[in-house]
């Protein structure tokens, strides 16, 4: 959707324009917000932040701020800033402190060691590239299961499979991913 299409839709019906924006950019905004808040927020926190983003976008629409320029870039910026604000408030409220006696701490200590490998963005790119090497629908199944935290039944509808097929593919794909990660030095 470009600026003039957006303007035409807005002039025809504001509510339809809002719906169209959410339909077109909803996944984009959700993935940005989810990426920031998945470790510190509940699904409700994420959805609330998602709504805050679009509410701000609708305000900008009224002020003609979306009609020109790169709509997706502007929406992405609003999403990131809002998600960062929410992240700060959630983490400050929760005061993320893990005790060394905590069960999670034990699991972290004994799990796959990635600290020895390239950090941050390089690691993320590497992980994603290995996941994508698995091909579809395995890559999507793994991401939706372990990153987006969906249940097998929910994934099944997205990839047009049965839930049991999703589970078995998921197990096999995960084994393949471990092999690939081991090949680049990420070991258990």
């Amino acid at each position: 959707m470009n600026g003039s299409e957006l303007k035409a839709l807005y002039n025809a019906s504001v509510s339809d324009c809002h719906r169209a924006l959410m339909q077109e950019y909803g996944r984009y905004v959700y993935s940005i917000v989810f990426n920031k808040l998945r470790l510190c927020g509940t699904r409700e926190d994420i959805e609330e932040c998602f709504s805050d983003v679009f509410a701000d976008i609708f305000i900008k629409l009224d002020d003609n701020e979306l009609m020109e320029g790169d709509i997706k870039a502007l929406i992405g910026t609003v999403a990131k800033r809002t998600a960062i604000d929410r992240f700060r408030s959630l983490t400050a409220a929760q005061k993320h402190i893990i005790s060394t006696d905590d069960e999670d701490m034990e699991r972290l200590a004994s799990d796959i060691s990635v600290e020895a490998h390239a950090e941050g963005s390089e690691l993320r790119r590497l992980l994603l590239s290995k996941i994508r090497e698995l091909g579809e629908p395995d890559a999507t199944i793994l991401i939706q299961k372990y990153y987006y935290n969906l249940k097998s039944e929910e994934i099944a509808g997205n990839v047009s499979m049965t839930a049991s097929s999703v589970r078995s593919r998921c197990t096999r794909a995960m084994e393949k991913l471990r092999v690939k990660l081991a090949e680049i030095g990420i070991t258990e």
Partner: protein
């Protein structure tokens, strides 16, 4: 789960990684879209309403002799009371002279150093009060030669209480709590009008005249004579749809203020139970309060002089910062500008203490302090560092 921890490394993704994750993001179903859209539309309408209100504030005009749209003004600007209309919004406010009847300063909720102006004045035709005002600096002179006015209030914007910054680890941005704090503060700002006997619809043709208790030196604006008069307690019938009795006022105030702050600011501002007293008789100081119920009707005291406020504005770019949050209390900091958003040097840092009021199980303002704008800037930098 070990698998999950691998994927946890994908947080804080860069743009190119985000694009891939977006492609793999599950579709939003129609039902989910409807639900999310409904919630979003509600938030959008609320934000739009706030934005429209803030913009409307900036449409207030102030001429030399009067201010229009009085509900939205903020800093002192002298007004000429409207004496001829049958029903007006009363705008008169600060009482000139050594008024102690309403105990405003003693009851000040924030211990503010705003001083009462020291005044020597004689009876004057209220329509002749002239007003000059530029920005936030106002001078006021009356038409009689014997009048002198020292307006010390304008020289002290902020409290004399020193600013104590919260610890860095105790401050954060909480959008929901911040919205609550800001909305409550906007209501508090409206209540400030009530403290100064303004912002209430009254009937200037329906007044009460009592002789003031000789122990109290007061001046009133008397709408029956169109004069400012010393030694007279003049009350005017409140016709505001919000308030028909003292309990209505109390309920309204308690919708914003904690019990403690309500008591400090308004605890001694109401009186009733003297229906047997006739007009022009002496009204003792125990009953000479800001609001009275008399023979079944609600009245408001009419102090002598004028008062006004400049419009205040806030900015979405500078969020409400929450500090010292507990389950039942927190402190909110945000910048407030007069007329238009500017830099931190030209704003006021508002410190608003909220408590979870047990009577309503809802947040209420427990204290308000003003500090120099740079203090908000310091907190803002801490948040963003």
């Amino acid at each position: 789960m070990k698998e999950k921890e691998i994927f946890d490394k994908l947080v804080n993704a860069e743009d190119d990684t985000m694009d891939i994750l977006t492609d793999m993001c599950p579709e939003i179903t129609d039902a989910e879209l409807d639900r999310l859209l409904a919630v979003t539309e509600r938030k959008y309408k609320m934000k739009k309403k706030d934005k429209d209100r803030a913009e409307k504030d900036n449409d207030i005009t102030m001429s030399e002799n009067e201010v229009s749209g009085v509900e939205r003004v903020r800093r002192p600007a002298w007004l000429t009371p409207i004496a001829t209309a049958a029903s007006v919004v009363l705008v008169a406010g600060i009482v000139l002279g050594s008024v102690i009847m309403l105990n405003r300063q003693a009851k000040s909720g924030n211990g503010s150093g705003v001083d009462q102006p020291a005044v020597t004045a004689t009876t004057a035709d209220i329509t002749e009060i002239t007003t000059t005002g530029t920005g936030t600096s106002v001078t006021n002179t009356a038409s009689t030669t014997q009048t002198t006015t020292e307006t010390t209030a304008e020289t002290t914007l902020y409290t004399t209480v020193p600013f104590v910054a919260p610890a860095a680890e105790d401050i954060y941005v909480d959008n929901e709590l911040g919205d609550i704090a800001l909305e409550l503060f906007k209501e508090y700002d409206e209540i400030d009008l009530l403290r100064n006997a303004a912002g209430v619809e009254v009937d200037t043709q329906d007044g009460l005249r009592f002789a003031a208790d000789p122990e109290v030196e007061i001046w009133s604006t008397c709408y029956d004579t169109h004069q400012g008069e010393k030694g007279i307690a003049y009350y005017i019938h409140v016709t505001d749809s919000r308030f028909s009795c003292l309990e209505d006022i109390r309920r309204y105030l308690r919708s914003v203020l904690s019990e403690g702050l309500y008591e400090r600011l308004f605890g001694d501002s109401m009186a009733s139970g003297f229906d047997e007293l006739e007009q022009n008789e002496v009204l003792d100081k125990e009953h000479m309060k800001q609001w009275i119920e008399y023979r079944g009707k609600l009245y408001q005291y009419c102090p002598y002089g004028g008062w006004g406020k400049l419009p205040v504005v806030f900015s979405d770019s500078y969020p409400v910062i929450i500090a010292d949050k507990t389950e039942t209390s927190c402190t909110a900091y945000f910048p407030e500008w007069y007329i238009e958003v500017d830099n931190f040097e030209n704003c006021v840092c508002m410190e608003v203490k909220l408590i979870l009021d047990p009577e309503f199980n809802d947040w209420r303002i427990d204290n308000v302090q003003q500090f120099e704008g740079r203090h908000y800037g310091e907190l803002y930098d801490m948040i963003n560092s």
